[in-house]
Amino acid sequence: MVSMSETRSRWFTAEQRRALIQEYGIFLAFLILAVILSVSNEFFLTPGNISNVLLQTSINGVLAVGMTFVILTGGIDLSVGSVVALAGIVSASFATTSSTAAVYGAPYPVVIPLAIGVLVGVACGALSGLIVSYFAVPAFVTTLGMLSAARGLTLIYGGGRPVPALTPEFRWIGTGHVFGIPAPVIILAVIFGLAWWTLTRTRFGRYIYAVGGNAHAAKTSGIDVVRIRFAVYVISAGLAGIAGMLLSARTGSALPQAGIAYELDAIAAVVIGGTSLSGGVGRITGTLIGALIIGVMNNGLDLMGIQSYYQQVLKGALIVGAVMLDQKRSYGA
């Protein structure tokens, strides 16, 4: 019995060690980055700049939350950047006062364009999800196809032109403040909170981990694997729809070339945050830190006035460095 309790205490340490490595490792990297930046630039820690960083992280953050769901099941969603553009432009066309770019009757009350933006995302996600889950086409191919198709639809829908002059109500979601906090930051916080709760506290969340960890086991335990796989693409694209509206609202007009290569940053946030691309392992808190690392890095290098060429080299090194600090994940994670 002595040996038993001894072993138990050993297990406990291992568990703690894992938690430390998995979550706080990357958190540590984030802290180090933040400390370096605040030492080297006086403006970095000003409230205005912190608000900037959060604001600039919000869109990638929303996308990364959705991406976490997909990657946890072992999938990937390359289409988010294009869905951002499509949802952004379609919703904007219901919220513009411009006579040329609007759909008939626009501008509509703000809930209409908002609902439509989410719906456009959900529709794209449903199509990708169906093809991935039901027809078992690899997620990479499916969402690469959607990347191309959604971009094409965006250009067709807007005739290749932006949709300008959005109503102030619509723009509020991108530019408004609540108690001094930018609206997109609040939206990200709410989405993150819901995602955290879903992934850690609900059955659906645990099923996502189970499907990613061992689809066969999930299936033999009676879980509807096809439905779970379908759902995560809907979530990811639905959030991309929201991100698209945030982007339009922030820039003040919906651009057809918006969101190009956003998928890379979103996936990077997820992977930096410790989620394994092969699915089944990862935490949404890590994703948030991953998105913050990317945001802080972009902001900090701009603040320090580092020339853009050197910024790119530094960014590459910093990303790899941050994950290296978060050492001793097992290979392939």
Binding site: G48, T100, G159, P162, A258
Partner: protein
């Protein structure tokens, strides 16, 4: 009536508004509308090699003439060579090509616009104070030449300091982030914003607004005259220098038909009448046609906006 002319247009990419206006102007050319010319527009997808390949396709399909907007001044030469070897005339438009095989070129001198926009900003701040420059993708000829123009104007105002100088890759969203960060790093110090295109100037405006500043207290300029830029100009938030995409496109089309018909053609576009002696047709003999830049002013902005309906 002889067989239709097959003319190909190869712009570097169609995802942004300027080239969209440009290619729409081609479709509006009288010869295309009345069916004398069958026009095909190839999207270069922002890749020199893709454009190269499209030249090969056009040669395979025996086009009669090609209108070309290269992504890069040097890389375009290969495509021109390919077409020349097959005996197809190539007319440059908007962006130069480093090739003497080009039959003719219709474009606007980017160094001039770079100079003009910087001059406007500098004049507005009284030739002293601090400015920032938001550049296009480094290495693209428009960026290189506009920067050259910017620098020329800045040299005339030695008291002006360039606080920051960074690329935002022609993108509004990128410029917005950049400006947000610059406003933090240089609180209250930036007086002027030289955006190398309208998109980026507009991004800067959004950042300034979001930071709670008065846009009108900044001197901001951009280039191209895209629709949003015109609107902002009308609101007095910025100055835009109109690059006449229609003239560049339709002028090139007239020249393309002219060379395809071996000189047996009179221009049909009304742009020649519009510019008159500023850009004479000269019986199609010129190698270079310089479409003048037009600063957007309170007087002409409404008329320009009307053309975008």
């Amino acid at each position: 009536q002889t067989a239709k002319l097959k003319i190909g247009a190869a712009p570097y990419g169609l995802n942004a508004e300027f080239m969209q206006i440009w290619s729409a102007a081609l479709q509006q050319h009288p010869a295309v509308k009345n069916g004398d010319v069958e026009l095909t527009v190839f999207d270069g997808r922002y890749d020199a090699l893709v454009q190269n390949d499209q030249f090969k396709s056009m040669v395979t399909q025996k086009f009669d003439a090609i209108i070309f907007v290269p992504i890069d001044i040097d890389a375009g030469a290969t495509g021109v060579q390919t077409a020349h070897d097959a005996g197809i005339p190539v007319i440059g438009s908007n962006t130069r090509v480093n090739s003497d095989l080009l039959s003719a070129y219709v474009g606007s001198d980017d160094t001039v616009s770079g100079y003009m926009e910087a001059k406007i900003v500098l004049d507005k701040i009284g030739c002293k104070g601090n400015v920032v420059i938001i550049e296009g993708p480094i290495g693209q000829s428009a960026q290189i030449q506009r920067l050259e123009g910017n620098k020329k104007a800045l040299a005339e105002c030695p008291d002006v300091k360039v606080l920051e100088d960074q690329t935002a890759n022609w993108s509004r969203a990128e410029a917005q982030k950049l400006m947000e960060n610059w406003l933090t790093a240089h609180p209250g110090q930036i007086q002027g914003v030289i955006g190398q295109n309208d998109e980026m100037a507009l991004g800067a405006i959004e950042a300034i607004k979001a930071a709670g500043n008065d846009v009108k207290s900044f001197a901001i300029a951009g280039i191209d005259g895209i629709t949003d830029g015109l609107r902002a100009a009308k609101a007095g938030e910025m100055t835009s220098i109109l690059q006449d995409a229609t003239a560049q496109a339709q002028g090139a089309m007239d020249l393309a038909i002219f060379y395809a018909k071996k000189g047996d053609y009179k221009p049909e576009s009304d742009i020649w009448a519009k510019y008159g002696k500023d850009m004479p047709w000269n019986d199609g003999k010129d190698k270079e046609y310089n479409v003048p830049w037009t600063p957007v002013t309170a007087e002409n902005v409404d008329a320009l906006l009307a053309t975008r309906q």
